[in-house]
């Protein structure tokens, strides 16, 4: 057993149960389907390679026979055999190259295929799925895991095939030459197997201890590295460093104690089947057989030449097994991602009529146990403003996110223009429902393309008109390449500027129903007025659902719904709710008071 770097590198535990081999294998076979014909072709070449690999060895043995038999043949006899040896080399080389080239190119195609398939799939999973994972996870699966599968596709399968076929062919050949000597030459194999069995005793327990130690050091690394900047500001670097150093020492101690006995045993077991040992056994037993006259001396040659091939697979399998396992785990994660249930698309999409919105007895929970919304009903008249207010955790953001279908409700309905959102095709839905949320990220492409995201064919004039309305045109023309400046390259926009580009985008998309996070208006204190003017332009005339934090902003709303513990507890205009003297009135009083409070006063 070789402890390779890959085996030793801290590996994050596979969260998707990819560690269990059986489903992993089935998933893997399914993933490989698109390149199966090519894999079969490669396997055929590999078969030729595995058998032709023996040809030069057999030729040398035959050559010796010819050269050693005095006078037999004549000067021409060795050449055909030598030519055959060289031809064997060439065939071996070509078939190996062909098999490798086929799998490598197939792997390149499969990588693209899998990435595209995953991207397409991710476009259909509930948006909430992304909220539960960070983008790093998506990147890991789409990029790293797909790349990790390379070893499996391009190497491991072929190596395995050759590792089985070549020794079998060698065995057949040697049995044909002399079966008795063959059996003697095989003696080291059971010795190796016994040593290996001892080594593998308690393997699961060993691996469990290993992965425990591994996760301990991993979290020590993460905590040290992630926290160090904070720690330093508290002047406790030494203490935190000491903790890390202790963890590192523990790990090194563990690793030393863990690997040493394995190393000893593996050194011993490998010694039995190493090429020098196999050569020695072949030569010695061959000499013994020849001395006793059981075989001709020249018949020892095949054993010396080919005998080594008998144990080669053990070495190959050992080297590759770790890489193979990590490739299989990666394949498991790819399969798990593709298995994520997508948001169901309607078979016969309904077209919404009008811009009214209705939440009907909507209940929802993120984890299936803690309800976040309980039987919420709320109607939004076309062209009116509805504000959602309530303490944090009351469910106002969640309710708003059901409208653009970030999630589907557990029970009840969200109805847009008379149609359940689940019955509207997603493209159609987004023609009707737009949103502007607090954290805006622009795409790393030109400013113009960012604005035209929903209307790729929009003309430059139209784009500029929207940018003007969103109070961002002047800033854009100041950029080095104006509207063609690329975000993050030569267009570095502040948070408030990015917000206004997003507003221009929403203006161009022109959805009649809009979900808005009111915090957007105050996200960047330096450009509040500009954002606010842009927002005022955007919301005019639309059916608006606002997630409100700063109550003064939404005093003019047509309807304010107060959420508390996932239920709507109050509803009305600002004045009505103040008069009702409930939760809203209390929140309003706190808001007015806090706005004037000076915490620095002494």
């Amino acid at each position: 057993m070789t402890i390779t770097a890959e085996a030793a590198a801290p590996v994050a535990p596979a969260p998707d149960g990819a560690g269990t081999p059986a489903p992993g294998r089935a998933a893997l076979i399914a993933l490989l389907a698109p390149i199966r014909p090519r894999l079969i072709a490669a396997a055929a070449f590999q078969l030729v390679y595995a058998i032709s690999a023996l040809v030069p060895f057999v030729c040398v043995a035959e050559l010796a026979r010819v050269l050693l038999s005095p006078g037999a043949g004549g000067p021409g006899r060795p050449w055909p055999i030598a030519a055959l040896a060289v031809a064997g080399l060439l065939i071996r080389f070509l078939s190996f190259g062909a098999a490798g080239a086929i799998t490598h190119f197939a792997d390149a195609d499969l990588q693209l295929h899998l990435r595209r398939r995953m991207a397409a799939h991710l476009s259909r999973v509930p948006l909430g799925w992304f909220g539960e994972r960070n983008s790093g996870h998506v990147k890991k699966v789409l990029q790293d895991d797909v790349r990790e599968m390379h070893h499996l596709i391009a190497h491991a399968a072929l190596d395995l095939l050759a590792a089985v076929v070549t020794p079998l062919a060698a065995l057949v050949y040697l049995l044909y030459v002399d079966w008795r000597l063959t059996l003697v030459v095989l003696i080291p194999v059971p010795l190796f197997a016994a040593a290996f069995a001892i080594m593998m005793r308690g393997y699961d327990e060993q691996m469990r201890r290993w992965s425990e130690a591994n996760s301990r050091i991993s979290s020590a690394v993460v905590e040290f590295v992630q926290g160090i900047a904070v720690i330093k500001t508290f002047g406790q670097t030494r203490r935190s460093y000491r903790r890390f150093a202790e963890a590192a020492d523990d790990f090194a101690d563990f690793f030393g104690a863990w690997v040493r006995p394995m190393l000893r045993l593996s050194g011993l077991s490998m010694a039995f089947i190493s090429p020098p040992a196999m050569l020695l056994v072949s030569a010695a037993s061959g000499a013994l057989f020849a001395a006793n006259g059981w075989i001709e001396p020249v018949d020892v040659l095949p054993f010396v030449l080919v005998g080594v091939a008998l144990t080669a697979p053990f070495l190959v399998l050992d080297m590759g097994s770790m890489r193979l396992r990590s490739a299989a785990e990666s394949a498991g994660r790819v399969a798990a991602l593709l298995d994520t249930p997508p948001l169901p698309e309607p078979e016969t999409p309904v077209r919404p009529v009008g811009h009214a919105v209705d939440f009907r007895d909507v209940s929802f929970s993120y984890d299936g146990t803690t309800p976040v919304l309980r039987e919420v009903s709320l109607s939004l008249e076309p062209g009116t403003v509805t504000a959602l207010v309530g303490p944090s955790g009351s469910g106002k953001s969640t309710l708003a996110k059901l409208l653009p279908r970030f999630y589907d409700p557990e029970s009840g309905q969200v109805v847009v223009g008379g149609a359940d959102v689940r019955a509207i095709g997603s493209a159609e839905l987004y023609h009707h429902v737009g949103f502007v949320l607090q954290d805006v990220h622009l795409l790393r492409t030109s400013v113009a393309d960012n604005i035209a995201l929903g209307h790729p064919d929009a003309g430059r004039e139209e784009i500029e008109r929207m940018a003007r309305a969103a109070q961002i045109h002047d800033r854009i023309v100041e950029l080095p390449r104006g509207y063609d400046s690329v975000i993050g390259e030569d267009a570095h926009l502040s948070g408030g500027e990015a917000q206004r580009v997003a507003i221009a985008r929403a203006l161009l998309a022109d959805a009649p129903i809009l979900v808005l996070d009111e915090a957007t208006a105050f996200a960047d204190p330096e450009s509040e007025s500009a954002i606010q003017d842009a927002l005022s332009t955007l919301v005019a005339g639309r059916t608006l659902l606002v997630i409100a934090h700063r109550l003064s902003t939404i005093t003019g709303a047509d309807q304010i719904a107060v959420l508390d513990g996932g239920r709507i507890t109050e509803r009305g205009t600002h004045d009505e709710l103040l008069a009702a003297d409930g939760l809203y009135a209390r929140m309003w009083a706190a808001h007015v008071r806090d706005d004037e409070r000076d915490w620095t006063a002494r």
């Binding site: 590198a9 050449w79 080399l89 992304f130 900047a229 020892v300 790729p456 005022s536």
Partner: protein, 573 residues
């Protein structure tokens, strides 16, 4: 590579590394010798001479090889373990001394990778990879020497292929290296686009761009494939050439041997032995080609570790003692990545007064506060805290003067209480709870299952932005430093959160020297001094009334902000 390894490990491991290399070399030579022993054994066997003595010698060499293999593996692992331990310590030690400003999110991510996987990569070099490389050189060289001993003409035939082999190896290596760079670039572009794609799902969907319509991603993915295909087209022929050249040696010996044998110029039993030897000759070379990828990866990690170790730490030898809690900047300039961020900034914050920093985003407010906490050292000018240049303090002494409450609050994987205790680890439970109570964290503890022992996730996922900031205030409260650097929250808070936060801030501010990046109008107007920054320079300074009377930048800023505060999304119908 060995030199770099030695440099990273430090001189104290030099002897151990050399000993391990020697053992590997001995093992390689013995490997070659054990192959070479076949020749006399076979010669004796085939010419009917006595085989016994040769077999005994052969057995001796094989046993010696096995012993050498065992010993070098033990030595190699010993060096590997030493490397593991040393690298953890050296990296940890060094990183602990780097300026806080060095730890950007990007760097922290890469550092985590490096301390985790990178160290393991490096460890695998002495433990595992180096032996393969050493054997690839030592074993064939030994075989070659032996061939000359057996028959100089056959030895020469084998030797003649060496330059070709060397050239082929070099050529392929340069091909692979160039392609690797191209692959890395294409991979990074693809990864960026994937991250963007995942992050922007809401917008992409809302604007009708599913995967099919999102060309930026698809282009990047297609480019990744074409780069990979190009890599294969250039490197596969290279690798093929190497494999062919390796077989050239065998072919050369075969042809030379046959010619010689037919001419009667060579002893046939010996020739047969040499031919058998020739098929073993190149095996270690192919093994070395196999580990090429791992070696390149390890070398990359080694270089990155070296680069971190080469980053100069902040000099920290000062012994100054703090005086009255004040802040003073005198002609301070600072550039980040060659871009000037602050120019000639001078300001004074008197003990127990409040200074509000205002100015547009990118004007240098955050950088200014970070220079005070010595995240970096100023490029020019002097930053003084409590009467002394920040560079004259030991880091712990400087930090004992300052509490920092910024918006990016890092919460540990641990309990609520643990997270407050970081402010002063030796504090009693009562003190921790008192600080928590003053910062209104008690209200959070009541709500969470587990109370003070509730676990708050790594990114503090269970707490909202305002709640996390309250935890950070509790830390500062517990730390009880006389100067507070604070970035006022801009994120919209719910009324009850806002009330709690203001209560917490008011308690923290009492009797302390305050420098606030201020956003709330009430805070700004009440400050003892307002400093307005623009483009990295102080443009105006004074009290609220003085600056309004001046009717300059600040007055315009104030008017604008006041108007924004009165904004209503819609007017009542």
């Amino acid at each position: 590579m060995i030199g770099e390894l030695g440099a990273v490990l430090g001189p104290e491991h030099g002897a151990r590394l050399r000993r391990s290399l020697l053992a590997m070399a001995v093992y390689g030579v013995l490997q070659g010798l054990s192959f070479a022993m076949l020749v006399p054994v076979l010669r004796a066997l085939l010419s009917g001479e006595s085989v016994g003595p040769w077999l005994a010698a052969f057995a001796a060499v094989v046993v010696a090889t096995a012993v050498a293999s065992y010993v070098q593996a033990q030595y190699g692992y010993a060096v590997g373990l030493a490397a593991l331990r040393t690298l953890y310590h050296r990296l940890g030690d060094h990183v602990a001394g780097l300026p806080v400003g060095w730890f950007s999110a990007d760097r922290v991510g890469r550092l985590g990778q490096l301390v985790g996987k990178g160290v393991m990569d490096v460890m695998s070099v002495p433990a595992h990879l180096l032996q393969v490389v050493v054997s690839a050189v030592a074993a064939p060289a030994t075989v070659l020497v032996c061939m000359f001993v057996f028959d100089w003409r056959l030895g020469l035939a084998a030797l003649l292929t060496a330059p070709f082999l060397w050239l082929a190896f070099r050529w392929t290596q340069s091909l692979v290296q160039r392609s690797d760079t191209a692959m890395d670039d294409a991979g990074a572009e693809g990864a960026d686009r994937v991250v963007e794609f995942a992050r922007q799902q809401p917008s992409l969907r809302a604007f009708g761009r599913t995967a099919d319509g999102y060309d930026l991603l698809d282009d990047a993915l297609v480019r990744q494939r074409s780069t990979l295909r190009r890599l294969l087209r250039t490197t596969l022929p290279g690798l093929g050439t190497v494999a062919l050249t390796v077989q050239l040696a065998f072919t050369a010996i075969l042809i030379a041997g046959c010619s010689l044998a037919l001419g009667g110029a060579v002893d046939v039993p010996e020739l047969v032995g040499v031919l058998v030897l020739a098929v073993r000759f190149t095996e270690p070379l192919l093994a070395a080609a196999d580990v090429g990828g791992e070696l390149r990866m390890a070398r990359g990690s080694l270089r990155r570790i070296k680069a971190v170790l080469d980053t100069p730490p902040l000099p920290a030898t000062g012994t100054a003692r703090a005086g009255e809690p004040s802040i003073e900047l005198d002609g301070v300039g600072f550039a980040y990545a060659e871009r000037p961020v602050l120019r000639d900034v001078s300001l004074t914050v008197a003990p127990r007064t409040v200074t509000a920093l205002v100015g547009p985003s990118g004007s240098g407010k955050t950088t200014l506060t970070r220079l005070i906490a010595r995240f970096w050292d100023a490029g020019s000018g002097v930053v003084r805290v409590s009467g002394n240049d920040v560079r004259d303090y030991a880091p712990e002494e400087l930090m004992a003067q300052l509490s920092i409450v910024f918006q990016d609050v890092y919460l540990f994987e641990g309990t609520l209480e643990d997270n407050i205790r970081i402010g002063r680890p030796e504090a009693t439970d009562e003190e921790v709870r008192e600080a928590g109570r003053l910062a209104r964290v008690d209200e959070i503890a009541e709500r969470l299952p587990g109370g003070w022992q509730a676990r708050v996730g790594e990114a503090g996922a269970t707490l909202s932005g305002g709640e996390r900031q309250r935890v950070s205030i509790a830390r500062a409260m517990l730390k009880d430093a006389p100067i507070v650097l604070l970035d006022e929250a801009t994120a919209a808070l719910d009324p009850e959160n806002e009330s709690a936060l203001i209560d917490a801030l008011a308690t923290l501010a009492r009797d302390r020297t305050l420098l606030v990046i201020a956003h709330r109008l009430t805070t700004i107007a009440a400050a003892d001094q307002i400093v307005m920054l623009e483009g990295g320079a102080v443009v105006e300074r004074g009290t609220h009334q003085e600056l309004l009377d001046l009717d300059g930048r600040y007055a315009a800023f104030w008017t604008e902000r006041t108007r924004a505060r009165g904004w209503r999304l819609t007017q009542p119908a």
